[in-house]
């Protein structure tokens, strides 16, 4: 257990400095292609969205092939920040996007966009919110499972609502797991199990995934909410040096309530909205 935090300015600066030098090291030594579409998908990241990074860079360093890369999809900024932090603490590299459409764009699965320049975009896990305007997490899941490039990537759905039919639907469509929000560190640690078990490691890439995963007694597919985790964690993973890559839609972030178009994606690319049976209520027209 921790005894407490010492947060002097000096130690913060030290952390930032060492992170920065690590980042430049990556840039110099690794001539991997950057995992970022060149079509300007990264829009201006607001200061408020760069929480907890400690690095002022807007672009992420090239992907370290040993590092687990997670694509997180959630229209809620607060939830995006939290899930990013949870993932980074478990030593994942995170790309966070605010819509299913943006996720597909990042993966190079949008038909009208030029495919990304590199041969293979390395995504080890996709975690997505269920209820999102425009394209639900379920629809995104379907599109991913229909694709040849990414159908093997485990997809985890998050939802604030514990609806059995919803859970079943997602699992039937090939979701690896279903997490009830609010997501906790124990949940994310458990996700690492999929990555050690299912990920196909090619070219002898070593995945240095810490074994520090929470023991869980019941499977993830539970009908009752996850039990509250203990209030303290015994060890804090050291922060990885990767900076946060956040893709936001080029239109202003649109919580549904705005008068502007609620979707962050062009209508023409939208698949039909989620079935009304499921009560995903974020498809509101103005």
């Amino acid at each position: 257990n921790r005894n407490g935090w010492r947060r002097s300015r000096r130690s913060k600066a030290k952390t930032e400095l060492s992170s920065l030098s690590l980042v430049s090291l990556f840039s110099l030594l690794f001539c991997l292609q950057r995992a970022m579409p060149r079509d300007g998908a990264v829009s201006c990241i607001q200061r408020s969205e760069m929480i907890g990074i400690g690095i002022g860079e807007l672009e992420s360093p090239p992907l370290d092939s040993d590092q687990v890369h997670v694509l997180a999809v959630d229209d809620s900024l607060v939830d995006r920040i939290v899930i990013e932090r949870l993932l980074r603490i478990t030593s994942c590299k995170v790309t966070a996007v605010d819509s299913g459409w943006r996720a597909l764009e990042f993966l190079g699965l949008q038909e009208d966009k030029a495919s990304v320049e590199f041969d293979r975009l390395k995504v080890d896990l996709i975690i997505t919110d269920y209820c999102m305007p425009g394209m639900t997490g379920y629809e995104l899941l379907k599109k991913i499972k229909e694709s040849t490039s990414f159908r093997e990537v485990p997809v985890v759905i998050m939802s604030s609502e514990n609806v059995l039919t919803r859970i079943d639907r997602c699992l039937e469509e090939g979701a690896e797991d279903f997490l009830l929000k609010p997501v906790k560190l124990a949940d994310v640690k458990r996700l690492r199990n999929y990555l050690t078990r299912d990920v196909k490691v090619s070219d002898g890439n070593k995945r240095s995934i810490p074994e520090d995963v929470s023991r869980f007694s019941s499977p993830a597919l539970i009908t009752s909410p996850t039990p509250p985790s203990s209030s303290s964690i015994t060890s804090m993973e050291s922060l990885d040096s990767s900076s946060l890559v956040e893709f936001v839609s080029s239109s202003p972030p649109s919580p549904v309530v705005d008068d502007d178009s609620l979707t962050s994606s062009p209508e023409s690319l939208m698949s039909p909205v989620d079935s009304p049976i499921d009560g995903c209520r974020l498809d509101v027209d103005h």
Binding site: R2, W5, I51, I81, R85, S160, P255, V257, V284
Partner: protein
């Protein structure tokens, strides 16, 4: 032992415990605190700050939707409540979240008066929480400035 620091730490401990006991916060807030460390000392305060911005915006929009009695867009209000409930749950803002539950019920039966009451209540609750957390973070700063460490509090 520096008694000024000890006093501040005690004050902090009592204050944060009271926030939990009075139902302002739940264990998701603890989860967030546990995600914070030396490299990210402002994580919690920045997340909650975003949350409060979110509250203000959602409440403003819902207020607009509820304004005209003859023309209430309940779908829009419901969507706003859903988002508010989600983010309040994610940061551990327990009272705000609970109001959202009642709010949703009013929305489901298209009870405009009920919605207006809930809107007022959620507005009040987020503002109260905002003030309390500001005080909490100030206490943290005072402890640090006095050379102490923030106590870990197990709720």
């Amino acid at each position: 032992m520096n008694t000024a620091v000890a006093r501040l730490q005690r004050q902090f401990q009592d204050y944060i415990v009271s926030l939990y006991q009075q139902g302002f916060l739940d264990n998701q807030f603890t989860e967030l605190r546990n995600l914070q460390d030396e490299g990210t000392p402002d994580f919690v305060s920045e997340v909650v700050s975003l949350f409060f911005d979110d509250c203000a915006k959602l409440i403003k929009n819902m207020s607009r939707s509820l304004e005209q009695p003859e023309n209430v867009d309940f779908k829009q209000v419901d969507s706003g409540v859903h988002q508010l409930k989600g983010s309040s749950s994610s940061v551990g803002a327990r009272r705000v979240k609970n109001v959202c539950i009642s709010f949703k019920e009013c929305c489901d039966v298209q009870n405009r008066e009920g919605c207006l009451r809930c809107l007022q209540q959620v507005d009040y609750e987020y503002k109260v929480l905002k003030t309390k957390l500001q005080d909490l973070f100030k206490l943290e700063q005072r402890i640090l400035q006095a050379g102490g460490t923030i106590p870990q509090v197990d709720i």
